[in-house]
């Protein structure tokens, strides 16, 4: 299974499924909680100068709490604009490292790499590394002081790095980008403030945001519309967990090899209102800061899920924790309802699904709720960030930022085509007004440069699947109406190292319960241990953050 760059937002969800948030480093070197006061932020944040080149076919829709849906485009402009004059680079050589989910392209004879390096006027030596094991590679790079010049780190891989300490290895970009300084890089200036805010640790601007939007979420519930239609089910009628449970019965036909659900536990977090990774803390009605493990919704969700698992409505492979095959199960119709990141709902998914079954149609349910009041906790605007090595000189940093300015060229520009598709005729051709990768292109073009920095992510036609764009944009416009901020939203808090290990037993326990290996009643005992082993102290730590820095609302 190859993940495309556009499935990126899905990765936040993937990370959520596997990552374990923890902090590390020892007390001596710790630089504090990582977060930054509002006053400091105001001084640090770059000035925002939007530069939308093309009018969106489906414009962005404003949602709740400042969130907004992505603009969608049905056709690439016939005459792309140039946003960068001259060549940004000065012939420098830089090593980069980015995660990659999928086959790593060969660097030798790669026309796409050559084309982009030529266009940016510098040699970026790309070293993509397996995204699934990225969090195991990073600590050794830090420990061995072998960081590349330009490295990307996903937010969900920061937990075991003690990030307030890790950033000291990176260049402070504040002097180059804060306030009006950013105007030297117009495409960077068009990055919205909410994305820059995610890039600040310890009162300094360190990161460059990658794949950000006003509608970043961990994941949601998807269904096979074609299968539901055959059973006479209208997805819009599904509004509560009970409705969903009824589908469990109706859609499962084990002897025919079909089950209603894949492992949808994280996806039902939205329905039962418990936060899923990277979000952990929320504020309850009484104003108390509570962890995911303490939310009442979590126990309801465990009850709901265990009932489904025991009734045989969840695919057995999902109950055997074989998450990596979830997409295949969905494509082949072995499950009718699955949970995934929103990035899973893209043109290439439709292409893969239709290859298995021509009537394949993925759709997302409109947000469900227990009480008729749906709500969804949003992820930080950017889920990934890239960093420049602190060892680079001022001139080198400027060169890299000029390159970043090229890579961040918006949709509708010439540069965007080069960065995302390479050379026309070699790596891509225009089909019905949209770029489509050629066979060579699909081998050479992987998410590499794009993982260093991106323009604000638009919704675009992939693999010629126009209808998917329309459906997705409509769903997202509806979703953002219910958007809410969890506690400490986008604040980059680094938890003290000693609480690193208390999370793992809870992750294991929740899995035991939802897969039906332990009764739901076993939960309270685990929670008590969690609190005693540091959960309550961790809350006190966050109380302190709340009083000094607020809760990011």
């Amino acid at each position: 299974m190859k993940l495309d760059r556009r499935q990126l937002l899905a990765l936040t969800g993937l990370g959520a499924a596997s990552s374990v948030l923890a902090a590390c480093g020892d007390a001596k070197t710790s630089s504090g909680p990582g977060t930054t006061t509002q006053d400091q932020l105001t001084k640090l944040l770059p000035a925002y100068t939007p530069n939308e080149l093309v009018k969106a076919d489906i414009p962005s829709v404003q949602g709740a709490n400042g969130f907004f849906s992505n603009p969608a485009f049905l056709k690439y402009p016939a005459n792309p604009v140039t946003t960068v004059t001259g060549v940004p680079g000065k012939g420098g050589n830089y090593t980069t490292m980015t995660p990659l989910w999928g086959a790593i392209p060969s660097a030798s004879g790669n026309a796409y790499y050559a084309a982009v390096n030529k266009a940016i006027g510098a040699t970026l030596k790309l070293q993509p590394a397996d995204g699934n094991n990225y969090d195991k590679v990073l600590p050794t790079l830090f420990a061995g002081d072998k960081l590349p010049d330009w490295v990307q780190i996903p937010g969900w891989n920061m937990g075991n790095l003690g990030f307030a300490d890790a950033v000291n290895k990176f260049a402070d970009l504040g002097p180059y980008l804060s306030g009006d300084a950013i105007k030297a890089y117009p495409n960077l200036a068009a990055i919205p403030t909410s994305a820059w805010q995610c890039c600040i640790w310890n009162g300094k601007l360190f990161g460059l945001p990658v794949y950000y939007s006003g509608a970043t979420i961990a994941g949601t519930l998807f269904h096979r519309k074609d299968i539901l239609a055959k059973e006479g089910i209208n997805p819009d009628d599904i509004k509560t967990p009970d409705d969903l449970a009824a589908l469990g019965q109706q859609l499962t036909s084990a002897s025919a090899g079909r089950w209603a659900f894949d492992d949808v536990f994280d996806a039902i977090g939205q329905i039962f209102k418990f936060p899923v990774d990277p979000n952990r803390w929320v504020i309850d009605e009484g104003g108390k800061i509570i962890h995911r493990w303490e939310t009442p919704g979590l126990i309801e969700a465990l009850n709901w899920y265990q009932t489904q698992a025991k009734a045989g409505h969840v695919h057995p492979d999902a109950l055997a924790d074989k998450t990596q095959d979830a997409k295949q199960r969905f494509w082949s119709g072995k499950v009718a309802i699955t949970g995934d990141g929103p990035g899973a709902w893209k043109g290439d998914d439709a292409k893969s699904g239709k290859a298995a079954n021509p009537s394949y149609e993925r759709q997302a349910f409109k947000l469900l709720s227990t009480d008729g009041k749906p709500q969804i906790w949003m992820n930080p605007s950017a889920g990934m960030y890239s960093f420049l090595n602190a060892k680079l000189s001022g001139d080198q940093i400027k060169e890299c930022l000029a390159i970043a300015n090229y890579l961040a060229a918006p949709y509708g520009s010439k540069e965007y085509l080069t960065v995302n598709f390479g050379v026309e005729g070699t790596d891509y051709t225009m089909v019905d007004g949209n770029p489509v990768l050629t066979e060579r292109g699909s081998k050479e073009v992987a998410t590499t440069y794009q993982f260093l920095i991106t323009p604000i992510s638009p919704t675009t036609v992939i693999a010629g699947q126009t209808q998917v764009v329309k459906d997705y944009a409509a769903w997202e416009a509806d979703m953002v109406k219910y958007a809410a901020k969890p506690a400490f939203y986008g604040m980059n808090v680094t938890e003290p190292a000693q609480y690193a290990s208390i999370n793992q037993p809870m992750v294991d326990l929740v899995k035991d319960i939802r897969f039906g290996r332990k009764p739901v009643s076993a939960y309270q005992e685990g929670l008590k241990t969690w609190k005693a082993q540091g959960g309550d102290q961790l809350r006190a730590f966050y109380e302190d953050i709340r009083s000094k820095y607020g809760t990011g609302q």
Binding site: G25, A143, Q504
Partner: protein, 318 residues
């Protein structure tokens, strides 16, 4: 007459030095061949051993080995007070024991069986077939088991379609020990017979002929010639296995931990992985591994001692 019993000068052991020299001369090419392996061993096995010192530190990847503070046995105190660690140790020993009882005799039996097949053609075919799974990765092996025995696997779908009850062997914590042992048998037993086959080949066939001439049947020959002939190798393999008693397939456990849960599948190696690497408490991971290493060494020495007491060579000749 005494002169007759005196060895001729050429056979008399010469002085120490010339022996070493001549032996070196004789073994020169062998020693040269061994150098790369020794270098690898030094670089990848001995040098990293110094890393276990982090078990006595509060290791930080930013402070590094040289600047992380020393905390003595603090990490070990933390380790030994963690009930999850003891449960992991318990699982490790239990799984090891089950594998020792059910897995260890299989390659021996298979080797005896293969040895008794006369047709070399059939022997080669059987041998190739049972070898093959050894070259599969654990991911693939577990996937094959999932496809066969899983809740949606071939067996259960067949049962379901015929209106019979199903049994999900892949997610049942109670039968997990048997599951992993059968996986090990399927994957490794074929590979394990090689060393026993070699030992069997070394037995002088004249012994069999003589015994047969004396009227010994198949079982008598097996009992009085074959088994004594490979006893040394069996004991050696057993000693080595005991030295590895705390190592029960890290990958195999890691892949299936989610399917049966921590309580059944957490072993020392996965514990060190989750609490050491995943949660970035490298000192704790190092402490758990050091504990495992020391214990394994003790097991190995004890098993070797017992082998010597039983009059076998064990790891080395005394």
């Amino acid at each position: 007459m005494t002169a007759l019993h005196e060895a001729p000068p050429a056979l008399r052991p010469p002085d120490e030095k010339p022996v070493k020299k001549s032996r070196f001369k004789r073994d020169r090419s062998l020693l040269l061949m061994v150098i790369p392996a020794v270098l690898l061993l030094i670089v990848f096995n001995y040098v990293p051993m110094f890393g276990t010192a982090t078990a006595f530190q509060r290791y930080s990847i930013y402070a590094g080995f040289w600047h992380s503070p020393w905390v003595g046995f603090e990490t070990f105190r933390q380790l030994f007070s963690d009930p999850l660690f003891w449960s992991a140790l318990g699982n490790t020993l239990m799984l090891s024991l089950v594998q020792l009882v059910f897995y260890f005799p299989i390659p021996i039996a298979l080797a005896l069986l293969l040895h008794s097949i006369m047709s070399t053609k059939i022997r080669t075919i059987v041998q190739s077939v049972v070898y093959l799974p050894h070259f599969f990765s654990w991911v693939l092996a577990v996937t094959i088991f999932q496809q066969m025995l899983g809740g949606a696997g071939a067996l259960n779908q067949f049962l379901r379609q015929n209106g019979l009850g199903t049994f999900d062997a892949m997610t049942n914590p109670d039968t997990f020990a048997l599951l992993v042992t059968s996986q090990v048998i399927w994957k490794e037993a074929g590979w394990g017979i090689i060393v026993f086959l070699a030992a069997l080949a070394a037995i002088d066939t004249q012994l069999y002929e003589a015994a047969a001439a004396d009227g010994a049947g198949r079982w008598r020959r097996l009992w009085h010639i074959t088994l004594p002939g490979i006893r040394g190798v069996i004991v050696l393999m057993l000693v080595l296995r005991l030295g590895n008693v705390l190592t029960v397939g890290f990958e195999q456990m890691l892949i299936q931990r989610g399917a049966v849960g921590r309580d059944a599948a957490e072993v020392l190696d996965t514990y060190a992985y989750f609490y050491g690497v995943v949660n970035a408490n490298f000192s704790l991971g190092a402490a758990a591994s050091l504990f495992k290493g020391v214990l394994s060494l003790l097991f190995l020495l004890a098993a070797n001692k017992i082998a010597h007491l039983l009059g076998e060579d064990g790891l080395y000749r005394r």
